[in-house]
Amino acid sequence: QEANLKRAKRGDLKVSVHHMEIERIRFVLSSYLRCRLVKIEKFFPHILEKEKSRAEGEPSILSPEEFAFAKEYMANTEAYLKNVALKHMPPNLQKVSLLKSVPKPNLDSFVFLRVLERQENILVEPETDEQREYAINLEEGSQHLIRYRTVAPLVASGAVQLI
């Protein structure tokens, strides 16, 4: 009887922990995808422009479904603004460049990163007029606080990891 109870309890715990794990995974996945959608909606003209000017072999930063979502969001918003406001304006004001009006993502903001693959001679831009640009080495396993723009290609290649 006690053995049965023990087995039942252990099974129950395993099942519960399993479910907890599923919930946690579902949360992490949902949160990640939500974050991507929020960014797409926030910077939609710039993201679509980047996708348009993407070279042949270059991988896309969006999944095909995200690309479709981004295009639909842009078309929806453009059509709305045109029908509600722009078409009622004087002729020379009926077009507005969303690319110019919607704020761009700030690629100069500072980010924390961890180095996965050693990098040599990364050129750092001067912060003030007195400074000059200088080169640094990124040792494997080290952590840095640096402008995103400086390390953007390294993030894309996976050589560094943002934290």
């Binding site: 519960s16 995808l33 479904e65 969001y73 918003t77 709305y80």
Partner: protein, 155 residues
């Protein structure tokens, strides 16, 4: 084109006007920018309604929306639904759920209406009667909470 004497006359007149024209154009551009900012801010709030409230808007809110805004909302939620369906297997993944990280395995719930018997993991059944409170595994209750049968009690 005008003869040179006429041209210089016209230029003299127009120099006065150029500043006025430029000023008026700046005003118009500013008005356009303010208007578009206002309209877009409304759209962002309407977008938030989909995420915080759900896909069916109550009449009280729709009353304050223009027809075009309602149309924008419908197109947005359709676009979002298409995307969510494409994620994670057959049924898709409802991204408007699981907003907060799951904290505990078991949660305290109160029954909002009679739901009958409910089987728990170890085989025992619980009677879900209106206003009864129970301590149940979270994952088993979630869909009942969403349906409005149970209410998560936060003490």
């Amino acid at each position: 084109s005008l003869p040179s004497s006429r041209r210089s006359e016209a230029k003299a007149g127009r120099t006065d006007l150029i500043f006025l024209i430029r000023f008026r154009h700046c005003c118009l551009l500013r008005n356009q920018r303010c208007l578009l900012a206002y309209l877009y801010d409304r759209l962002l709030r309407i977008r938030a309604l989909r995420w915080e409230y759900g896909s069916v808007l109550p009449n009280a809110i729709q009353f304050h929306m223009s027809a075009e805004e309602v149309e924008w909302f419908n197109r947005y939620k359709k676009s979002l639904a298409t995307y969510m369906r494409s994620v994670g297997g057959e049924e898709g993944l409802d991204l408007t759920q699981d907003i907060k990280p799951p904290k505990s395995l078991y949660i305290e719930v109160r029954c909002l209406r009679d739901h009958g018997e409910f089987e728990v993991d170890d085989g025992t059944t619980i009677l879900l009667k209106k206003n009864s409170q129970h301590f149940l595994p979270r994952w088993k209750c979630e869909h009942l909470i969403r349906q409005g049968v149970l209410e998560h009690v936060l003490s």
